[in-house]
Symmetry: C2
Subunit: 531 residues, 2 copies
């Protein structure tokens, strides 16, 4: 069953190995354990609902608890401490676009706030209800998860917006297709959520971001239904899809999604290569991207992430042998691991692999075959579970991401890492920080940074530490030509930093659009645009 206070299914447990714990203890000090609240304690806090009864709305306390928080670190701290703050007054589970419209009309009639809810995996505070005089209705799309239709010639699939990653892929794979969209939240996050938040998946290099995959669909708004037809491309005015993508529930509720799908590839392999140092690794990955080598995935860990991953992996003896071999071949201290994927026909993959190996060799890359690549593929959705393992060992972990042009990647990455690494120096605390580039483009790259710190003596201290770190990193991003989000969206947590990149007129434009679609500001107020 899905955890009410953490990530994923409670049958999946990812523990921190003993040598990993020792590794962290040396870096940031020994773990600090905080006590968890029980579900019963939290249920006891849920106040009476302010909503009137409606056949589509559930007022049950547990439903309200389970839809009150996302998966950000502050959400984690709230769930673990039991200090949830605000709960939605009810959760609706519509089963059709007509029911979504009915609920919007009801919300208008009864002066409600409405929070659209997909998989509840936001790490930026998208779905958290705020204290308000108006009752808050969370509208879950979970019951609209069916594959409705496939156009086999045009490779377009029509889905309900609530289909999560496994529901999308299993329904497509049964007919020989894939969407190819694999964000790390894939097990729980949904198609509608991906569209609303401009999501990107691990194999965006081949399949594209959701911007390339989202072909059209329907959106229910307070100003009516927006129907977006599918075209392969169009020069007929601004693209309405693009206005919807990134609107994070502020403009309307997506009730149908059409996506571009791909026939399952004949073959897919992932490989690992080690580069001797960061500068060569950075040049290598940029060259691969700009030379348009048709790879399906590229992920480059910096030296600290490489070291951390090898330290936290199982089989220390095997890793030791690998590191000896790599050192002999020129990739010793400071080495960086690059993982790449080839997906396509056997002929295509052979050609891509040949190009990639040749180019990587010219940067001193040491090729290690498919073993570590396979490990990556097996564990690709397990990282979010590691928060549990780390927490149980007394550590808090969070990630953040940005993207910037190549000429600024190294600069921004260093500044973000430094802002986090030194962020708790006043507290005398070490923060362990490491980074990878996992979405690369001709123009630049995403920068994905993980930071591990000790929570302190209590939840208030943990929260204060996180706020300090998050603010330092966010400010660094905003002031150094990074986007405040490459793949997680804006939500509430990033909203204060958005005006730097959108500018005054840009912000006014987004506000004008929100006012156009939702004149009474019922939908997710405070998300994306601070009110």
């Amino acid at each position: 069953m899905r955890r009410w206070n953490g990530w994923g299914d409670d049958a999946t447990v990812v523990e921190l190995p003993a040598h990993g714990e020792a590794f962290l203890a040396e870096l940031v000090g020994s773990g600090q354990l905080l006590a968890d609240a029980s579900l019963e304690q939290v249920l006891a806090q849920v106040p009476a609902s302010r909503l009137q009864a409606h056949p589509l709305i559930c007022l049950n306390a547990e439903d309200r608890v389970r839809h009150a928080r996302g998966q950000s670190l502050p959400d984690w701290l709230a769930m673990r401490s039991g200090d949830f703050g605000v709960f939605p007054d009810g959760v609706a589970y519509p089963e059709s676009a007509a029911q979504v419209r009915e609920l919007l009309a009801w919300a208008s009639q009864h002066d409600l706030i409405v929070i659209p809810y997909g998989g509840g995996t936001s790490v930026a505070g998208h779905i958290n209800p705020q204290a308000s005089n108006k009752p808050v209705l969370t509208l879950s799309l979970a019951r609209m998860s069916k594959l409705i239709e496939i156009d086999h010639d045009s490779l377009i699939a029509t889905f309900g917006p609530g289909a999560n990653g496994p529901q999308v892929e299993s329904q497509l794979r049964a007919q020989g297709y894939t969407l190819g969209h694999f964000p790390q939240s894939w097990e729980l996050s949904t198609l509608g959520g991906w569209v609303a938040s401009r999501s990107s998946g691990q194999q965006s290099l081949r399949y594209g971001r959701i911007e390339q995959l989202f072909a059209g669909g329907k959106v229910e708004t307070f100003a009516g239904t927006l129907e977006i037809p599918t075209f392969p491309a169009s020069a007929a005015g601004p693209d309405l899809r693009e206005i919807l993508m990134g609107s994070e529930g502020r403009f309307g509720i997506i009730s149908e999604v059409k996506v571009r799908i791909t026939r399952l590839a004949e073959q897919e392999n992932f490989y690992a290569v080690f580069l001797p140092n960061w500068q060569q690794a950075l040049s290598a990955i940029r060259s691969l991207a700009q030379a348009r080598v048709p790879l399906s995935m590229l992920r480059l860990s910096n030296a600290i992430e490489t070291k951390t991953q090898l330290a936290l992996a199982g089989h220390p003896q095997q890793i030791a042998w690998l590191e000896k071999y790599l050192a002999l071949r020129g990739a010793g201290e400071g080495k960086c691991m690059l993982t790449f994927g080839v997906t396509g026909s056997r002929t295509q993959n052979a050609a891509s692999l040949k190009q990639a190996k040749k180019l990587l060799k010219s940067f001193g890359g040491v090729f290690t075959g498919t073993l570590l690549g396979k490990k990556w593929a097996e564990n690709r959705f397990r990282f979010p579970y590691l928060r549990h393992g780390l927490w149980a060992a007394g550590y808090a972990v969070d990630t953040l991401e940005t993207a910037t042009d190549w000429s600024n990647v190294d600069n921004l990455l260093n500044k973000v890492e430094t802002s986090l690494r030194t962020g708790l120096s006043e507290e005398g605390e070490q923060v362990h920080v490491f980074t990878h580039l996992s979405h690369v483009y001709n123009e630049g790259s995403s920068i994905y940074t993980t930071y591990v710190f000790r929570p302190g003596a209590n939840y208030a201290e943990a929260m204060a530490r996180w706020q300090k770190l998050k603010h330092a990193a966010s400010l660094t991003i905003a002031e150094n030509r990074g986007t405040i989000s490459h793949q997680h969206g804006v939500g509430r947590d990033h909203a204060p930093y958005l005006p730097v990149e959108k500018g005054e007129l840009g912000m006014a434009t987004l506000k004008a659009l929100a006012g156009h679609f939702d004149p009474e500001q019922r939908l997710a107020p405070g998300v994306l645009l601070q009110d």
Copy 2:
């Protein structure tokens, strides 16, 4: 010098060969010649300007004539007949963003209409001034055509918005780069125009449409300056670039453009393959697109276009031998020519060519090498000049385009062709109609149709015939799931058909945006959105 009443430089003359004339005479009847007006006759009609003097504005009659019309067939008829209708009251040539802002302020102060003008190549009525109580100022970006900066790591070039195709490419090529954007209007159309109208170039398969190339820049609006920073990708809310692209001058005037460039490829080749019939050809091109074979160009002529191209080509004897050879190999009557390009490193191109040949062979494709491909590349920008050759022989020619999903390509193509072919049956006139697919996507394809007809006894008749044909085809597109434009934009000519694809709420959204940026509706009124 640039022609004042037609396409391109007057030193370039493309005549219809004698056998081409015979070919057309058999299909649509012998040509009908209409007399051309002289520049002097037109200059004599230009009324006094209603504008006050301003140092940046030219009130000269010839400048006003040369900025009154685009390159649509109605524009052609207006220019040839001398019946221009409305002229702008003046033409401004700002040299900086500050001067653009100054002109906008002046326009506001003096209650003017402002028409942003790039290369004047619109084929949809974007830049034609309309009769108005307010004086009309055409604002040409021609003097803002410089390459300002290149970021060599991120492959981003910053240009003035008025740089036309040759100016863009020559400035980039001098440093080893290309933009890779080659619309047929490339010789005259401009970067700012491409962005404003969502342009697509002949090699969009490799380089992307302008949507993929446009990285950011500046826009001067009546609500202030919109600065769009460059990011390789972002999940931080709706993408302001996408709101600008396709705004066709309604929201503001682009004063700086940043584009994603590419290092010049080691090698580029174009090849021609003949498929035995349309159905196999259509399946072949769809398979090439969906198998993600990394080609840089794909263009498939239907059987009538193939026949027409071979008939209008020079060297009839050579063509006769080619056709005998093709017939022997299985591509006889009904054959379709497919041209494709490979661009990249020698290794990449060899791999791509191998994949393409193998796949095309499985559909009965007969490969003819690079000769016809080279011809295509040499002549790729000459087609617009052919309007002169055809006109001199007594024929009017126009083109139109749409895009639709693969499952609808054949249906829509046939319906569009039929609407044109039978469009003048009441007049007892034949229309020669042929089509190619030249921009292909996983999801579908563009459909680009050319139609040749006799203009009739006078210009009024010619115009009435065009209107009838254009309306019939546009209605067919709108009613059959096509977009009203794949690459030419909306302008005035397509505006009546736009609501079918955008829907009521979509149109209201675009109007809300226009009202937000330009509350007094000074910019290009009637373009994109009918007022």
